[in-house]
């Protein structure tokens, strides 16, 4: 789509929505939010960018192929479950630790890792769907 307004806006929105998606991911720990919705927001932001420009310029933001993002997401989620097995607890038992950084008391645990896995998987899946559809349309043009 050739719209100056959309193009300019989508660049700012991309950054804002990316931050928002990270916010949602972390917020999901105790409040509504989480990896799934966070991943959807990021994928939506990238899709918006792809609509404003084209799929190829959107692809620049991806560090690797979308399939690989899914794979790392799955591995992260699986790993979060395996962690507890090494401590002799059942699969997927939450493991927690308090981390002190910059005077903050961070309560980190494997559910966050699981959520990050979900986040990555959702981003990857949505992008694959969008890209396969969009590229078909772009080839037709």
């Amino acid at each position: 789509m050739n719209s100056l307004i959309l193009r300019t806006a989508s660049r700012f929105l991309l950054i804002l929505l990316f931050q928002f998606s990270i916010f949602l991911l972390l917020r999901g720990h105790n409040d509504p939010g989480g990896g799934f919705v966070g991943g959807l927001v990021l994928a939506a932001a990238l899709t918006l960018y792809a609509i404003a420009y084209d799929v190829r310029s959107m692809r620049r933001f991806l560090p690797c192929r979308a399939q690989t993002i899914i794979a790392w997401g799955l591995l992260a989620a699986a790993l979060s479950g395996v962690w507890s097995m090494f401590k002799g607890q059942p699969f997927m038992t939450g493991q927690w630790a308090h981390v002190y950084i910059l005077g903050l008391d961070l309560h980190l645990g494997t559910p966050l890792l699981f959520d990050i896995g979900v986040y990555l998987t959702v981003v990857g899946v949505v992008l694959i769907v969008i890209m396969s559809l969009a590229e078909e349309v772009e080839e037709d043009d």
């Binding site: 690989t68 097995m85 607890q89």
Partner: protein
């Protein structure tokens, strides 16, 4: 705690995801998958041994206490099924190395295959009915893609039928789970087993049971819901056909046996009679359908339906002997059916066709392949001393024990017809001279990758027959556990289950 039960699910997931990471390096995917399936088999055997020696194993995922969390349970039946999956997986992976074409390998055959195995293991091991639904979806979605991967015309036609029918079945399944939850307030199967006994409306439970029967009936290909199976199973590459034909429909049968031995026991006379007759008719229609076929794999597909009938009939008899026979028969059938598909792949490799009329002379050119086929085919028909004989013997004995003479007669008749149609394959593909105009291809490299799996499975068919004792002892243990759900419930719910 017992993390062994998680491994058959976790392992294929890790291998599958790693395969996607090394997407561009097919050789690495092959090695990962092969190594993964060897480890899987080892884990499955250890699990089987553990269950045999220590009884039913259960683990509460995330340490959420049952019935609130998701429980994984390995009773004898589950453990046997997982071990069988391990054998078939390894065999099919080796066979795939020799037969799968580059394009399919490059487009994610190995990741999909691993996810499929994850779904199958999950379905066998879960103790939660909604989780069972999820695992069914996992295995179905990967099987959809495996079936359509390659995009040949026949494949897509088969895939559309397969996908549509299975989605309908999933909708039934999901609706049934929803109603079940509304009625009993639990999804944990052990917990449900206790609660369904004193639900206010027993009529509704029976209705629900039939809803589950329809859902699993479609997935397991029971009369009159089987027609999607022969329409689709002969279209993908042989390795995929073999794992679908050998393993996948049996997951439906497994689920059927699980819910009708654990959950729906308050109107056994009604529900299990329906199951019994559905099994009988499935048996007969399947084999009659096979008689008319002249496509190698289509013929075998109709036999899948027919054999499913035996298993379902065993569930319908609902005696300890019959259930033991069913478990034994399922394992035997998975090995033998997979093997017959693998043999059809060899004939395709040698002559480039699955059409029995165009095949011929295989016995003269390759006597060993003929013998390997014959072992599996006779075992399928139930000729002593091969594995099929004992499976059928036990089922028939169980049928005679409760005086179901009509069904016993049907089962025997179906055996004869099975023998007849196996003889047809033998006469057409192996015995008659090669018709003019059929190509003779050089076998090409990697024949050992094709024959190794076939020999392994044929040997298993012989061993399960000649030394049936230990195998049948396991099946008997499985049958007893299925008929006495108390031990299952106790393993899941702990001491509370005893009340």
């Amino acid at each position: 705690m017992n993390s062994l039960i998680v491994l058959p699910i976790l392992l294929p997931l890790l291998v599958g995801a790693s395969c996607v990471v090394v997407w561009r390096y097919v050789a690495a995917q092959r090695i990962l998958t092969l190594a993964g399936s060897i480890v899987y088999l080892a884990v499955a055997v250890v699990l089987l041994e553990r269950v045999a020696s220590e009884g039913i194993q259960a683990v509460q995922k995330g340490a959420w206490i049952a019935p609130f969390g998701i429980t994984l349970v390995a009773d004898m039946f589950s453990a046997v099924m997982v071990a069988t999956t391990g054998v078939v997986t390894l065999v099919i992976v080796v066979y795939s190395l020799g037969t799968m074409d580059r394009a399919r390998e490059a487009w994610g055959y190995y990741p999909l295959f691993n996810i499929l195995i994850m779904g199958v293991s999950g379905a066998f091991l879960t103790g939660d009915i909604f989780n069972l639904f999820v695992w069914f979806e996992v295995l179905l979605i990967s099987s959809f893609v495996l079936l359509a991967l390659g995009g040949e015309r026949a494949q897509l036609e088969g895939a559309i039928k397969y996908v549509t029918l299975n989605l309908v079945a999933s909708a039934f399944f999901l609706a049934a789970v929803g109603i079940l939850y509304a009625m009993a307030g639990s999804l944990n199967m052990a917990d449900l087993s206790q609660r369904l006994g004193d639900v206010a409306q027993p009529g509704l439970v029976t209705t629900l049971a039939i809803l589950f029967l329809v859902a699993f009936g479609i997935k397991g290909a029971i009369f009159p819901l089987f027609f999607w199976l022969p329409a689709s199973y002969h279209t993908p590459p042989v390795a995929v056909s073999a794992i679908f034909g050998g393993l996948l429909t049996k997951v439906g049968v497994y689920a059927l046996i699980r819910v009708f031995t654990l959950l729906f026991l308050n109107n056994v006379d009604y529900t299990h009679t329906i199951i019994l007759w559905a099994g009988g008719i499935t048996m007969v229609t399947g084999v009659l359908g096979a008689v008319a076929q002249y496509e190698f794999r289509r013929l075998l597909s109709f036999h899948i339906v027919s054999q499913i009938g035996y298993m379902v009939m065993g569930l319908g008899f609902f005696t300890p002997l019959a259930l033991a026979g069913t478990v034994f028969f399922i394992v035997h059938n998975i090995f033998v059916k997979t093997n017959l598909f693998l043999v059809s792949g060899v004939s395709h490799r040698l002559h480039g066709t699955y059409d029995l009329k165009k095949l011929g002379g295989l016995y003269r050119a390759h006597p060993w392949i003929g013998m390997l086929f014959l072992l599996s085919a006779l075992s399928l028909a139930g000729v002593p001393p091969l594995s099929g004989f004992f499976g059928k013997l036990v089922l028939i004995k169980a049928g005679l024990g409760i005086e179901q003479f009509v069904l016993v007669a049907a089962a025997l008749g179906v055996s004869l017809l099975t023998l007849f149609s196996m003889t047809k394959i033998w006469a057409e593909a192996f015995w008659k001279p090669l018709p003019d105009g059929t190509a003779v291809k050089a076998p090409g490299g990697g024949m050992a990758l094709l024959l190794g799996p076939i020999v392994t499975l044929a040997v298993l068919a012989v061993v399960m027959g000649v030394a049936a004792g230990p195998f049948f002892a396991l099946a008997q243990q499985a049958g007893e556990q299925l008929l006495n759900p108390e031990s299952y419930i106790r393993a899941v719910l702990g001491a509370r289950g005893g009340s």
